[in-house]
């Protein structure tokens, strides 16, 4: 058996393999377990469904279709109609039903096929879910998870490519998380489900099939990632790159390239949009003196704008050697043609081999302060 790239498979299979791997190879260096983001989400939901019978999943195609993007594969077979519910195409209706069920004590996971469709239901997310605990003076909690793919995909054009991190991140009463890796996905979805508050989980369709190394602790049924804590994916000294979701990967690629040129980037994976881990970002900027934010969403009033603002207001401002810069999606509705679409999102280095020195979206050497 190879170092085991576990692709697809039923939920739970990955865990069995993990156990098997550990047993077999405990004498030599343990083989790294590879799990895709999709399987990590699946595992996370499966474990929480098993752990607490108040948890259930509803949304379009989540049951018999195994999920529009196969994230809920196998769950309906395992848990049946009561716990995994296919809904009609009625976002406002079923989101409201999910919120009502949460108010009455259940713990629903409400899937939006993509977050673009959540706009039809956004009143239920904000006015019925997010604000209720506050308006009721602490009487009525709403333990609900809204999840689904967010942001740009590939060739799906304007109505299906919007990033909602800034919109949801704007609202008090909500928690908003944005996983990048498989470990992120599993730990955050489990924390979201166990949280007694409305949590928006912004996944990414292009990341679903990407495998990541799954550390040992992530294989535990109680593996949780705290909401509100960022992770430093890569230590560095010259410039801080702050990102969330898929662009974290682009930052890592850019960091690898810049490293060869003597620029060491510190890459911060936000993991949570709200409440934002400003402290981790500040500490990093105070060390590197340079800040670049990287996101897929539109620039105006976005996540990067908020980060820059927060840094200005805090102790890290005095440590900046240059103004903070933002790398974002282009300020246009997403076009369809490949060339145009590519230029509307931050790019990883290898995707632009024609300009290895300055790949699209990569921090400029001047901004990085390198000699």
């Amino acid at each position: 058996m190879a170092a085991g790239i576990v692709r697809g498979g039923l939920a739970g299979c990955g865990q069995q393999v993990a156990r098997l791997l550990r047993r077999r190879f405990h004498r030599s260096a343990p083989a790294a377990l590879q799990v895709t983001v999709r399987d990590a989400l699946n595992q996370g939901m499966d474990e929480e469904l098993e752990r607490d019978e108040r948890v259930f999943l509803l949304g379009e195609e989540v049951a018999q279709y195994d999920g529009a993007y196969k994230v809920s594969r196998g769950l309906w077979k395992k848990y049946g109609d009561k716990r995994i519910i296919d809904t009609p195409i009625s976002e406002m209706g079923f989101a409201g039903i999910a919120v009502g069920a949460a108010m009455a004590g259940l713990r629903p996971i409400c899937e939006f096929m993509t977050f673009n469709f959540s706009m039809q239901a956004i009143d239920q997310v904000i006015n019925s879910a997010a604000k209720t605990y506050y308006m009721s003076g602490g009487l009525q909690p709403v333990p609900i998870v809204f999840r689904g793919p967010n942001g740009a995909s590939a060739g799906v054009a304007a109505q299906h490519s919007q990033c909602f991190a800034a919109w949801y991140g704007h609202c008090p009463g909500l928690k908003v998380v944005s996983p990048w890796s498989s470990e992120d996905a599993k730990g955050l979805i489990k924390s979201a489900i166990r949280d007694d508050n409305p949590v928006v989980v912004l996944e990414n369709e292009l990341m679903y099939g990407v495998p990541f190394e799954f550390p040992d602790e992530a294989q535990s049924k109680d593996f949780l990632i705290p909401i509100g804590k960022a992770k430093i994916e890569r230590q560095g000294t010259h410039v801080t790159l702050v990102s969330h979701s898929r662009p974290v990967g682009h930052c890592m690629e850019a960091a690898a390239i810049l490293s060869k040129e003597g620029v060491e980037c510190e890459v911060i994976n936000m993991r949570t949009i709200r409440p934002m881990d400003t402290q981790t970002i500040e500490a990093s900027v105070m060390k590197t003196n340079h800040l670049i934010t990287v996101e897929g969403g539109w620039p105006q009033f976005g996540v990067g704008a908020e980060i820059c603002s927060s840094i200005m207001e805090g102790p890290a401002f005095n440590f900046l050697d240059a103004p903070a810069a933002r790398v974002t999606g282009a300020d246009v509705p997403m076009p369809y043609a490949k060339l145009l679409e590519e230029n509307c999102v931050p790019q990883g280095a290898e995707e632009r081999p024609s300009s290895p020195r300055r790949p699209r979206g990569e921090p400029r050497r001047e901004a990085a302060g390198a000699p």
């Binding site: 259930f56 009561k82 519910i85 809904t87 009609p88 009625s90 406002m92 209706g93 079923f94 989101a95 409201g96 039903i97 999910a98 919120v99 009502g100 069920a101 949460a102 108010m103 009455a104 004590g105 259940l106 009143d123 239920q124 006015n127 019925s128 605990y133 506050y134 308006m135 009721s136 003076g137 602490g138 009487l139 009525q140 909690p141 709403v142 333990p143 008090p172 009463g173 928690k175 007694d196 508050n197 409440p275 207001e313």
Partner: protein, 390 residues
């Protein structure tokens, strides 16, 4: 004899001590109960509707009377406090519709669930909160049921989910509560209320579909008071048969000014839902004396004559009182005594609601998240921080 009794009663109420009055009344013999004919309900997709006669016991009658009177006087007190600017913002009053909230509560159990829109003070009371807590919430004080954080439209109690400000949004919520009832298998139902205006919201039809598909134990109740804000039903709806708007969902149309009619219809619908057959739609034909809210005098889109006609012919409290007195279930004096008690309760509550202090500024950031360790919330600028605890 009657005149003498009236005189004595007047003197006694002026002195406002009860013992002597009680002795007088105790010598009278009341009937234990009486049978009443109630209006037949129009039905949709049903073989038969609720019964057309019902029995009201003396005890029930006195209870319903007192509760309706309490809601009435509470709403009128809110009107007064609003005009004195002690209540501010939104205030949507329920006077005229008392038979609805009281009749509905009489037809269900405390373990059932209720959710309504913003004209919610009546239900907040019938679901168990005190007038004190309600008025103090309206005046925005710390003794309010939501600690002053919610106001008129956001009052919650056990098995009562508000008070909801977004028209129609409470309907899917109610179906979700019904889903939880079915999920938990405890034989509970959810009453999900909305108005004639809200009845045209698309999300209600989405909800009808899912509730019928999944056989959720939900009674969809349209409180048709003939006007959605300033728009009459004829100007808002292509079909004003709100009890039929659920299409494939059976429906009944009920006289919402008669507390007994509402009670029987509710029992009927509740039994239907509890049997697992799925949802039902119930239209309550009712009327509000006040305008849409305190900022609406309520006479630009309807006539004073119309309001007066309903008051004199169909007032729910008057209807119950007449029934009870004419059938020897209670005396006028006894009911007047109840009025006095109610007035006192309302007065005390209003005193409290006016004198209680506002919530402390330090608590501005409280109750953002449930069961969360304390954290900081930003105020109006970066240097103002509030502590947030759950």
């Amino acid at each position: 004899m009657r005149k003498m009794l009236a005189v004595v009663s007047r003197v006694l109420t002026a002195v406002s001590q009860k013992p002597t009055g009680r002795v007088l009344l105790a010598t009278r013999n009341f009937a234990n109960d009486a049978s009443f004919d109630i209006k037949k309900c129009d039905i949709h997709r049903l073989e038969e509707g609720p019964p057309t006669t019902t029995i009201l016991t003396r005890e029930e009658g006195l209870k319903y009377y007192k509760i309706m009177q309490t809601v009435r006087r509470m709403e009128l007190k809110a009107d007064q406090l609003y005009k004195q600017k002690i209540i501010r913002g939104f205030c949507h009053l329920y006077d005229g519709q008392e038979a609805c909230c009281v009749g509905l509560e009489a037809g269900i159990n405390p373990s059932d669930h209720v959710i309504t829109a913003y004209r919610a003070h009546g239900f907040t009371y019938t679901r168990g909160l005190t007038v004190r807590e309600i008025l103090a919430e309206l005046t925005g004080r710390r003794g309010g049921c939501a600690k002053g954080k919610g106001g008129s439209m956001h009052m919650y109690a056990k098995n009562f989910y508000g008070g909801n400000g977004i028209v129609g949004a409470q309907v899917p919520l109610g179906a979700g509560i019904a889903l939880a009832c079915k999920y938990n298998g405890k034989d509970e139902i959810c009453l999900t209320l909305y108005g004639d205006g809200a009845a045209n919201q698309g999300q209600i039809f989405e909800t009808y579909n899912m509730a019928a598909l999944w056989k959720l134990p939900c009674i969809f109740i349209c409180e048709n008071n003939r006007y959605g804000m300033g728009t009459s039903v004829e100007r808002a709806a292509a079909s004003t048969d709100y009890y039929k708007r659920g299409d494939y969902i059976p429906g009944i149309r009920v006289d919402g000014m008669d507390v007994l009619c509402v009670r029987e219809a509710t029992k009927f619908a509740a039994a239907y839902c509890r049997s697992g057959k799925g949802p039902m739609v119930m239209e309550l034909q009712t009327y509000r004396y006040h305008g849409h809210s305190m900022s609406d005098p309520g006479v630009s889109y309807r006539t004073r004559e119309e309001i007066q006609e309903v008051r004199s012919k169909s007032d729910p409290i008057m209807l119950l009182k007449d029934r009870m007195v004419n059938n020897n279930l209670a005396s006028i004096e006894e009911l007047k005594e109840i009025d006095v008690e109610v007035r006192k309760e309302i007065e005390d509550a209003a005193q409290f609601a006016t004198a209680d202090p506002e919530p402390p500024l330090e608590e501005l950031g409280y109750h953002i998240y449930s069961r969360e360790p304390p954290f900081e919330v930003r105020g109006a600028n970066q240097w103002i921080k509030y502590k947030s605890i759950s």
